[in-house]
Structures are given as structure tokens and as C-alpha cells.
């Protein structure tokens, strides 16, 4: 199958709650998971291939994912290894803006990017959470992410004591 053809055929995907989305082959191939599926279809498959069911992604999240892949369909995507190696990297302002969403949406996006195997999107969205954690106290982190404090005072004191050996002052 020639996936590099200049024309960019339409492809449909269906979310877990049954909504159908139309996008292009070039965009959808950013997903490693779908790329694997399509590669196994064989000759002449793409045009006649039916809508691709995505049982783990709901329609709200799929809409967000499609917005991202369509925007980035012409960009060269870094591999997981390349992402691992990079240090302070430049973030596209479009992406920065794109990631402005509430936490629940962001969690769903992360899960979807992980399932669909879109390394760059996964990196961007997990990094977004990491940036929210950065420079916050434990209590601030708890209230921001709605996490229950299950430590007893004695237990937490022991952890604090051990942590002191590692603190960067």
C-alpha cells in the first residue's frame, strides 16, 4: 500500500460513543496505532476501508485529537526516542494555546494520545501536567488535582526527614 501518495484521501473514525469523524489519511497516520492497523489492510485498502472504530476514545476527546493531528499533519513527527532525548525544547505557541483546557479533558487527551500512540501529543500533554505541578507545595498540588491526603503525621514526618537528604537548596 502506498501511504505516501500525494493526494490525501478521506478516512473516517468512529468514537466509543458512536460518533463518526472525517479526517484525512495523512493526519490519521500520525497515530502509530492506526498506522499499524492500516498497514495490515493490504493492497487497495484505504479507499474502500470502512470507518475505523476507536473503542477507547470518546467523541469529545476524539474531536480534540483530530484538531491536533490535522494541524500537524505536514510536520515531521519526532519518535519516542527523540522525545526522550530532548532537553528544554521549544513549544509551538499553537500547541501551548491548544492545551489550554480543563483538567478532565486533559486527562482524557493523555489517555487517548497514549492509546493512539501519538508520541508528540502525549509528550505535550503530560508536560502540561508536569508544568502545573512545578514549584508547588504538596498542599497546593493536592488541592489543584483534588487528591486526598492519606498520610498520618508520623508517616509524613519520616518521608520529610528522608527527603531532606536530597533537597536541592
Amino acid at each position: 500500500m502506498d501511504i505516501d501518495r500525494p493526494s490525501d484521501p478521506q478516512v473516517s473514525v468512529v468514537s466509543s460513543d458512536g460518533t463518526m469523524f472525517h479526517t484525512t489519511l495523512k493526519s490519521i497516520l500520525l497515530s502509530g496505532t492506526i498506522k499499524d492497523m492500516i498497514e495490515h489492510i493490504g493492497e487497495g485498502g484505504v479507499e474502500n476501508m470502512g470507518a475505523i472504530p476507536l473503542q477507547n476514545v470518546d467523541s469529545k476527546t476524539l474531536e480534540i485529537v483530530i484538531k491536533w493531528i490535522e494541524h500537524h499533519k505536514d510536520n515531521i513527527q519526532p519518535t519516542s526516542e527523540e522525545i526522550k532525548d530532548k532537553t528544554a525544547d521549544f513549544i509551538d505557541p499553537w500547541d501551548e494555546n491548544f492545551l489550554e483546557m480543563d483538567l478532565d479533558k486533559l486527562y482524557n487527551l493523555i489517555t487517548a494520545a497514549n492509546y493512539l500512540n501519538i508520541p508528540q501529543l502525549l509528550w505535550l500533554s503530560t508536560r502540561k501536567i508536569a508544568m502545573l505541578i512545578k514549584n508547588r507545595t504538596p498542599q497546593e498540588i493536592r488541592s489543584l488535582f483534588n487528591i486526598e491526603d492519606d498520610w498520618t503525621p508520623q508517616e509524613i514526618e519520616a518521608v520529610q526527614k528522608e527527603n531532606q537528604w536530597c533537597e536541592e537548596k
Binding site: 505541578i133 512545578k134 491526603d149 526527614k161 528522608e162 536541592e168
Partner: protein, 476 residues
């Protein structure tokens, strides 16, 4: 967030630095468990022993892999290492004095040690009992910026990458270093910084017969440059060398010219040499460097303008305080360059030539702390308009107010011989100015106080600062 799968949480946490990880351990038990039990996260937690540590006992629940000791260490260090030493992969000793037997005990407990750093480490050599058994470590990296007498303990250990740097090294230390190098079989990278005369190490014919073959060789010499036999030393590794850095922080004397020529000739023949970084080094009278892909030139390193030195496969060119780069060099090398960096250039009118090349492969252009003329600015704009994928970084670069520069460039561009020579003459004057300021720096540097200052921090950073300082002085 706690509902996200653990692998995702690890990914998120992995983006964070040590203090944020420590905050996370206090948020809830789950997070503490994940961080304390995930190897890649625990590896980010460095045990730091400072001056106060000697009054405290460490109670560790996590399997730490990295220790840094500055001035002192915890009361129960040896008991801790007896239990957990096998997990330790990295140790940094800084500004610490220790009896040799303590150091030996530490190294014997940490038998899986991979990275070992000594910065301003002092051994109490009066104590006895140094002999057998010596630890047999298989190190990836050894940094030895201290009294090299600690090598007595490491004679049976092997290392892949050695960095060494010493202020005062006496005959015994040099002898130990030579012996240690002769014992090495797997050494691939050697970084050597010299503040005194110890570059004579490379003049020793004892190093001509060694079992290792270097892939990377870095030599920074602040006072002396090895002369006799140095090219022989390099020649032994000419099949394997991939990266070479030669930086001299004093102006090469006339007697260096022949040596530089011989070494250049060697470089040209090295089939695996991909990266070449030179300071105060003259590549001249050479024909074509087929193999070099990355070239970094600093201060006075110059390509001879009369002879067409070519780098047909050059992908990255980084220039620091360049005097002038002749267009014949650029003509022949420029079409392959993907990444170009120009730093601290007083006059970069010649960049114009590069940017006007039509079939450029340039993907990245950085100009930093340099003076640009209008034509250059226009050329950059054009370049960006023509090719979408170019990444551009221009940092603190001023517009030239000097119209004469533009004018001179116009003349030069019409390839008139006389204007080129004017350019060169100016270059030579600059060298003389720089020689003076460099000498000042070195005279200062050899004062004990100054040296203390230099060695009191992370070495590489200091060298970088020093270089930047020199560069800034140039710029002024």
C-alpha cells in the same frame, strides 16, 4: 490525576526536577510509592551530604543510586553502603578530605559504580594499609580533578571515559597517570585540561603502546601545548577517533605552526573523524577534509584564505569570535551546511555570502552577540521567506552603525585581491591585541588565589565562564 495509569504518571513525573519530585512524595502514599519504587525516578534523587551531614544518621528506604559528598558525609556512611552500596552507580566527591582506607572501603562497597567524580579531593596519604585488595571497578566515567594519587586505588579498575585536570601535578602523579592509562583496555574518551606543564604526558613515548583506541580526544591547554611526539600519540588513534577538540588558551607560537600542519594532515586522513573543535589552531595548506561533518572554530582559529580548504560534507559550522572567514571556504563548504552558528562576531558582513547561496540546505541559523549590517539583515529576511523550515535564533545582536563596514563588504564581494588583504591585515592586528589580553588572564590565573577560585566550582562550568569572559572582553 491519580486515576491516570501508572506508566503515564511516571512519564509526567519524569519531566520534573528533584525538588518537585520530593513535593510529590508528600502529596499521597501512591505518589511516594511510585517515585520511591521506579528506578528512573529514584535515579533523579541524589543523596547530598554537606557539612552538616556528619552530625546525622541517614535512614534510607529508597534504593538511591547517586551520592554527592561536599565537605563531609553522614555519620553512618559505611554502614549505609554496606547495605545499599550495590545500588550506587554515581558518586561525586567535592572539597573533601578523606583517609585512603575510607575511600577504599567506599569503593569496595559500591561495586557497581559507573560514574566517579573527584573534585578538589584530598587524600590523607600518611595512613597505611593502602595495598590489597584494590577495588576492581568497571567505570563508564571517571573525573579526576584532584590530586592524582587517588589513582593508586584505581589501578585495577577500568574506565571508558576519563576526564582529568589538575593544578599542580608532580612527577609521581604523572607517573601514576601513565601507569593507569597503560592498564586501560576500554578507554574511548580522554579529556585532558592542563594548567601547568603536564601536557608533557603526551610527549611520553610510553603512551605509544597502549591497548585502548580513543574515539574522542579533548585537550585544553592553558599554558603549554604538547610538542614532541604529540602527533605520534594522535596517530595511534587515527583509525578510531570520531571527535577531536584541541583548545589552546594562549596564542600558538611560531614553532606550533609546523605541528599544527602535521596534525591537520592527520585529521584530514582520519576516516571516522566527524567532529572537529579547534581554538587557536590554524588549519592551513590543506586540501579537502572529506569526513568532517561538524566544525567548531574559536578565536584565532582560521582558515587560510589563499588555499582552498574544503569541507564538502560539513553539516554543522559553529564559529566563536571568528576573525574572518574567507568566501572561498564558504563557497566550497556552504551548500552542505544545515546548521550554522555565529557567536561573538564583530563583523559578520560575510554571512551575506552564505545567505545568498540559492540551493542552501540550511535548517538552523543562530547569530549571537554579533554585529550585523543591513545587507545581512535583508539576506536573513529573504532566506526566511524562501524556505519555511528554517529555524532562526538571533540573540543580542546589534545593528551595525558603521556604514564603512557595509562599504568594505561591497568591495570584498567584488573579489578584489587588495581588499582581501586589507581584511587579513586587520585580522593579524586583532591577534596581537588578543595575545595581550590573554596573557593578562593567564598571569592572573596562575596566582594561587585565582586558581582557588577557578577550582571552587564545577570545573567545566568554570572553564565555560572563563571562555565567555574572554569572549566578552574581546567584544568590548
Amino acid at each position: 490525576m491519580e486515576n491516570l495509569p501508572q506508566e503515564i504518571l511516571i512519564k509526567i513525573f519524569d519531566d520534573l526536577k528533584i525538588n518537585d519530585l520530593l513535593s510529590l512524595t508528600l502529596v499521597c502514599k501512591d505518589f511516594n510509592d511510585i517515585i520511591s519504587n521506579t528506578k528512573q525516578l529514584v535515579e533523579k534523587l541524589v543523596l547530598r551530604f554537606t557539612a552538616q551531614a556528619k552530625n546525622h544518621k541517614l535512614e534510607a528506604t529508597r534504593k538511591y543510586t547517586k551520592i554527592s559528598m561536599r565537605y563531609s558525609y553522614c555519620q553512618n556512611l559505611l554502614q549505609f553502603l554496606e547495605k545499599q552500596g550495590e545500588y550506587i552507580t554515581n558518586i561525586r566527591f567535592m572539597f573533601i578530605k578523606m583517609e585512603l582506607w575510607t575511600l577504599k572501603a567506599i569503593l569496595n562497597f559500591c561495586r557497581n559504580l559507573k560514574n566517579l567524580t573527584f573534585l578538589n579531593f584530598q587524600v590523607d596519604i600518611t595512613s597505611s594499609g593502602v595495598c590489597e585488595p584494590l577495588p576492581k571497578l568497571k567505570l563508564d566515567y571517571l573525573c579526576l580533578n584532584c590530586d592524582r594519587r587517588v589513582l593508586k586505588l584505581l589501578m585495577k579498575s577500568s574506565v571508558k571515559s576519563l576526564m582529568t585536570y589538575s593544578v599542580y601535578s608532580d612527577e609521581l602523579e604523572l607517573k601514576l597517570l601513565i601507569q593507569f592509562l597503560k592498564n586501560q583496555k576500554y578507554l574511548e574518551k580522554l579529556e585532558f585540561s592542563s594548567f601547568r606543564q603536564d601536557t608533557r604526558l603526551f610527549e611520553s613515548d610510553k603512551l605509544n603502546e597502549v591497548d585502548f583506541r580513543l574515539k574522542e580526544f579533548n585537550l585544553q591547554s592553558f599554558l603549554s601545548f604538547p610538542m614532541a611526539n604529540f602527533e605520534k600519540f594522535l596517530k595511534n588513534h587515527s583509525e578510531s577517533l570520531e571527535r577531536v577538540l584541541l583548545k589552546q588558551f594562549h596564542l600558538p607560537s611560531r614553532s606550533h605552526a609546523q605541528l599544527h600542519y602535521e596534525i591537520s594532515e592527520l585529521f584530514r586522513e582520519m576516516k571516522n573523524l566527524k567532529k572537529l573543535e579547534l581554538r587557536a589552531f590554524h588549519i592551513s595548506d590543506i586540501k579537502t577534509f572529506h569526513y568532517v561533518e561538524e566544525l567548531i572554530l574559536e578565536e584565532y582559529s582560521n582558515i587560510d584564505s589563499k588555499i582552498h580548504t574544503k569541507f564538502p560534507n560539513l553539516k554543522t559550522l559553529r564559529l566563536f569570535s571568528p576573525l574572518s572567514v574567507h568566501e572561498s571556504f564558504l563557497d566550497f563548504s556552504i551548500s552542505s551546511i544545515e546548521k550554522l552558528e555565529i557567536n561573538y562576531a564583530k563583523n559578520i558582513t560575510w554571512i551575506f555570502i552564505i545567505l545568498n547561496i540559492k540551493d542552501t540546505n540550511l535548517k538552523y541559523l543562530k547569530i549571537r552577540d554579533s554585529v550585523m549590517c543591513d545587507d545581512t539583515r535583508k539576506a536573513i529576511e529573504n532566506l526566511c521567506n524562501n524556505s519555511k523550515n528554517i529555524k532562526l535564533e538571533i540573540i543580542q545582536t546589534e545593528k551595525s552603525n558603521d556604514d564603512e563596514i557595509d562599504f568594505k563588504f561591497q568591495k570584498e564581494n567584488s573579489s578584489s585581491e587588495s581588499s582581501n588583504e586589507t581584511e587579513e591585515d586587520e585580522g593579524e592586528e586583532e591577534i596581537e591585541d588578543e595575545e595581550e589580553s590573554d596573557d593578562d588572564e593567564l598571569t592572573d590565573g596562575t596566582e594561587d588565589d585565582e586558581l582557588e577560585f577557578i577550582f571552587n566550582e564545577d570545573v567545566s562550568r568554570e572553564i565555560e565562564n572563563l571562555e565567555n569572559f574572554l569572549k566578552r572582553r574581546r567584544m568590548e
